[in-house]
Symmetry: C2
Protein backbone atom coordinates (compact mmCIF):
# COMPACT_ATOMS: atom_id res chain seq x y z
CA UNK A 1 0.00 0.00 0.00
CA UNK A 2 1.39 3.34 -1.06
CA UNK A 3 1.68 6.36 1.15
CA UNK A 4 -0.51 9.42 0.64
CA UNK A 5 1.06 12.85 0.60
CA UNK A 6 -0.57 13.92 3.89
CA UNK A 7 0.69 10.73 5.51
CA UNK A 8 4.18 11.44 4.24
CA UNK A 9 3.93 14.98 5.61
CA UNK A 10 2.90 13.56 8.98
CA UNK A 11 5.92 11.29 9.05
CA UNK A 12 8.31 13.99 7.92
CA UNK A 13 6.86 16.46 10.42
CA UNK A 14 7.31 13.89 13.15
CA UNK A 15 11.00 13.60 12.24
CA UNK A 16 11.51 17.32 11.67
CA UNK A 17 12.27 18.16 15.29
CA UNK A 18 15.59 17.72 17.01
CA UNK A 19 14.47 15.67 19.98
CA UNK A 20 12.15 13.47 17.96
CA UNK A 21 14.77 12.85 15.32
CA UNK A 22 17.23 11.90 18.04
CA UNK A 23 14.65 9.55 19.54
CA UNK A 24 13.93 7.92 16.21
CA UNK A 25 17.58 7.44 15.39
CA UNK A 26 18.14 5.96 18.82
CA UNK A 27 15.34 3.48 18.17
CA UNK A 28 16.68 2.68 14.70
CA UNK A 29 20.00 1.94 16.31
CA UNK A 30 18.36 -0.10 19.05
CA UNK A 31 16.65 -2.34 16.51
CA UNK A 32 13.41 -4.33 16.86
CA UNK A 33 13.88 -4.88 20.62
CA UNK A 34 13.34 -1.17 21.25
CA UNK A 35 13.87 0.80 24.45
CA UNK A 36 11.72 1.83 27.43
CA UNK A 37 10.53 5.44 27.53
CA UNK A 38 12.58 6.21 30.63
CA UNK A 39 15.83 5.11 29.02
CA UNK A 40 15.06 7.22 25.97
CA UNK A 41 14.36 10.26 28.14
CA UNK A 42 17.64 9.80 29.98
CA UNK A 43 19.62 9.28 26.79
CA UNK A 44 18.13 12.24 24.92
CA UNK A 45 18.04 14.51 27.95
CA UNK A 46 14.40 15.52 27.93
CA UNK A 47 11.75 15.50 30.67
CA UNK A 48 9.42 12.50 30.77
CA UNK A 49 6.27 14.43 29.99
CA UNK A 50 7.85 16.24 27.07
CA UNK A 51 9.21 12.96 25.74
CA UNK A 52 5.80 11.38 26.07
CA UNK A 53 4.38 14.06 23.82
CA UNK A 54 7.11 13.43 21.27
CA UNK A 55 6.64 9.67 21.40
CA UNK A 56 2.94 10.14 20.89
CA UNK A 57 3.60 12.16 17.75
CA UNK A 58 6.02 9.57 16.35
CA UNK A 59 3.56 6.81 17.19
CA UNK A 60 0.62 8.57 15.62
CA UNK A 61 2.72 9.09 12.49
CA UNK A 62 3.30 5.33 12.40
CA UNK A 63 7.07 5.56 12.72
CA UNK A 64 7.29 3.78 16.07
CA UNK A 65 5.26 1.29 18.06
CA UNK A 66 4.62 0.99 21.79
CA UNK A 67 4.22 -2.14 23.85
CA UNK A 68 3.87 -2.35 27.62
CA UNK A 69 6.23 -4.45 29.70
CA UNK A 70 5.41 -4.22 33.37
CA UNK A 71 5.74 -0.65 34.53
CA UNK A 72 7.67 0.33 31.43
CA UNK A 73 6.47 1.08 27.93
CA UNK A 74 8.86 -0.15 25.24
CA UNK A 75 9.10 1.80 22.04
CA UNK A 76 10.59 0.48 18.80
CA UNK A 77 11.05 1.83 15.30
CA UNK A 78 8.73 0.67 12.53
CA UNK A 79 11.15 -0.03 9.72
CA UNK A 80 8.46 -0.81 7.20
CA UNK A 81 6.97 2.64 7.73
CA UNK A 82 10.38 4.19 7.20
CA UNK A 83 10.88 2.19 4.05
CA UNK A 84 7.51 3.42 2.80
CA UNK A 85 8.49 7.01 3.42
CA UNK A 86 11.80 6.69 1.59
CA UNK A 87 10.05 5.07 -1.33
CA UNK A 88 7.51 7.87 -1.45
CA UNK A 89 10.23 10.52 -1.51
CA UNK A 90 11.97 8.94 -4.49
CA UNK A 91 8.93 7.87 -6.47
CA UNK A 92 9.29 8.37 -10.22
CA UNK A 93 12.83 9.58 -9.64
CA UNK A 94 14.31 11.17 -12.75
CA UNK A 95 11.19 10.50 -14.77
CA UNK A 96 12.31 8.75 -17.93
CA UNK A 97 15.43 7.25 -16.39
CA UNK A 98 14.12 5.33 -13.38
CA UNK A 99 16.89 2.78 -13.59
CA UNK A 100 19.27 5.40 -12.24
CA UNK A 101 17.50 5.96 -8.95
CA UNK A 102 15.13 3.01 -8.72
CA UNK A 103 17.51 0.88 -6.62
CA UNK A 104 15.93 2.68 -3.70
CA UNK A 105 12.59 0.95 -4.20
CA UNK A 106 13.59 -2.50 -2.99
CA UNK A 107 15.70 -1.34 -0.10
CA UNK A 108 16.04 -2.09 3.54
CA UNK A 109 14.68 -5.60 3.12
CA UNK A 110 13.52 -6.84 6.47
CA UNK A 111 15.33 -5.34 9.46
CA UNK A 112 12.96 -6.80 12.01
CA UNK A 113 9.90 -6.07 9.92
CA UNK A 114 8.74 -3.48 12.41
CA UNK A 115 6.92 -4.90 15.44
Amino acid sequence: MNLSLPQAVDRLSALAQGHRLAVFRLLVKAGPDGLPAGAIAREIGVRPNTLSSHLSILDHAGLIHARRDGRSVIYSADFAAMRGLLGFLMEDCCGGAPEICAPLSGLMPACGAAA
Copy 2:
Protein backbone atom coordinates in the same frame (compact mmCIF):
# COMPACT_ATOMS: atom_id res chain seq x y z
CA MET B 1 30.99 14.58 4.81
CA ASN B 2 28.32 13.44 7.24
CA LEU B 3 25.22 15.38 8.09
CA SER B 4 24.77 17.01 11.49
CA LEU B 5 21.52 16.55 13.35
CA PRO B 6 20.48 20.21 12.98
CA GLN B 7 21.16 19.99 9.24
CA ALA B 8 19.01 16.87 9.03
CA VAL B 9 16.25 18.66 10.94
CA ASP B 10 16.47 21.54 8.47
CA ARG B 11 16.06 19.18 5.54
CA LEU B 12 13.23 17.25 7.14
CA SER B 13 11.46 20.47 8.14
CA ALA B 14 11.78 21.67 4.58
CA LEU B 15 10.04 18.52 3.36
CA ALA B 16 7.48 18.43 6.17
CA GLN B 17 4.97 20.69 4.46
CA GLY B 18 2.47 19.67 1.84
CA HIS B 19 3.34 22.20 -0.82
CA ARG B 20 7.07 21.89 -0.35
CA LEU B 21 6.91 18.10 -0.43
CA ALA B 22 4.89 18.29 -3.64
CA VAL B 23 7.47 20.67 -5.10
CA PHE B 24 10.36 18.44 -4.17
CA ARG B 25 8.74 15.33 -5.56
CA LEU B 26 7.95 17.19 -8.75
CA LEU B 27 11.63 18.15 -9.05
CA VAL B 28 12.73 14.60 -8.26
CA LYS B 29 10.49 13.42 -11.05
CA ALA B 30 11.75 16.15 -13.37
CA GLY B 31 15.35 15.05 -12.89
CA PRO B 32 18.54 17.09 -13.19
CA ASP B 33 17.10 19.42 -15.85
CA GLY B 34 14.72 20.92 -13.30
CA LEU B 35 11.77 23.23 -13.83
CA PRO B 36 11.21 27.02 -13.84
CA ALA B 37 9.50 28.52 -10.80
CA GLY B 38 6.46 29.55 -12.78
CA ALA B 39 5.81 26.03 -14.05
CA ILE B 40 6.12 24.70 -10.52
CA ALA B 41 3.66 27.27 -9.20
CA ARG B 42 1.16 26.37 -11.91
CA GLU B 43 1.59 22.62 -11.36
CA ILE B 44 1.31 22.77 -7.57
CA GLY B 45 -1.38 25.43 -7.54
CA VAL B 46 0.21 28.00 -5.27
CA ARG B 47 0.77 31.74 -5.69
CA PRO B 48 4.16 32.82 -7.00
CA ASN B 49 5.16 34.69 -3.86
CA THR B 50 4.17 31.83 -1.60
CA LEU B 51 6.05 29.39 -3.81
CA SER B 52 9.09 31.62 -3.72
CA SER B 53 9.11 31.40 0.06
CA HIS B 54 8.88 27.62 -0.14
CA LEU B 55 11.61 27.37 -2.75
CA SER B 56 13.83 29.54 -0.60
CA ILE B 57 13.36 27.17 2.33
CA LEU B 58 14.13 24.09 0.22
CA ASP B 59 17.16 25.84 -1.26
CA HIS B 60 18.47 26.98 2.10
CA ALA B 61 18.11 23.40 3.35
CA GLY B 62 20.28 22.28 0.44
CA LEU B 63 17.64 20.05 -1.12
CA ILE B 64 17.31 22.03 -4.36
CA HIS B 65 19.43 24.38 -6.42
CA ALA B 66 18.51 27.46 -8.44
CA ARG B 67 20.02 28.70 -11.69
CA ARG B 68 18.84 31.61 -13.74
CA ASP B 69 17.91 31.19 -17.39
CA GLY B 70 16.74 34.44 -18.93
CA ARG B 71 13.71 35.71 -17.08
CA SER B 72 13.11 32.34 -15.47
CA VAL B 73 14.78 30.72 -12.50
CA ILE B 74 15.20 26.99 -12.92
CA TYR B 75 15.08 24.82 -9.82
CA SER B 76 16.33 21.24 -9.62
CA ALA B 77 16.58 18.63 -6.89
CA ASP B 78 19.93 17.95 -5.24
CA PHE B 79 20.03 14.17 -5.20
CA ALA B 80 23.25 14.00 -3.26
CA ALA B 81 21.66 15.98 -0.43
CA MET B 82 18.73 13.61 -0.42
CA ARG B 83 21.05 10.62 -0.32
CA GLY B 84 22.84 12.17 2.63
CA LEU B 85 19.59 12.62 4.50
CA LEU B 86 18.48 9.04 3.92
CA GLY B 87 21.84 7.79 5.08
CA PHE B 88 21.62 9.90 8.22
CA LEU B 89 18.19 8.51 9.06
CA MET B 90 19.37 4.93 8.84
CA GLU B 91 22.79 5.32 10.39
CA ASP B 92 23.79 2.44 12.67
CA CYS B 93 20.53 0.73 11.77
CA CYS B 94 19.80 -2.22 14.03
CA GLY B 95 23.05 -1.74 15.92
CA GLY B 96 24.84 -5.08 15.91
CA ALA B 97 23.20 -6.30 12.72
CA PRO B 98 24.06 -3.58 10.22
CA GLU B 99 24.11 -6.05 7.34
CA ILE B 100 20.32 -6.18 7.51
CA CYS B 101 19.71 -2.50 6.83
CA ALA B 102 23.04 -1.33 5.49
CA PRO B 103 22.05 -1.77 1.83
CA LEU B 104 20.66 1.74 2.18
CA SER B 105 24.11 3.25 2.53
CA GLY B 106 25.29 2.84 -1.04
CA LEU B 107 22.03 3.78 -2.66
CA MET B 108 20.83 6.13 -5.32
CA PRO B 109 24.16 6.07 -7.11
CA ALA B 110 24.35 9.07 -9.38
CA CYS B 111 21.02 10.35 -10.66
CA GLY B 112 22.46 13.52 -12.05
CA ALA B 113 24.76 14.09 -9.12
CA ALA B 114 22.85 17.20 -8.08
CA ALA B 115 23.77 20.28 -10.07
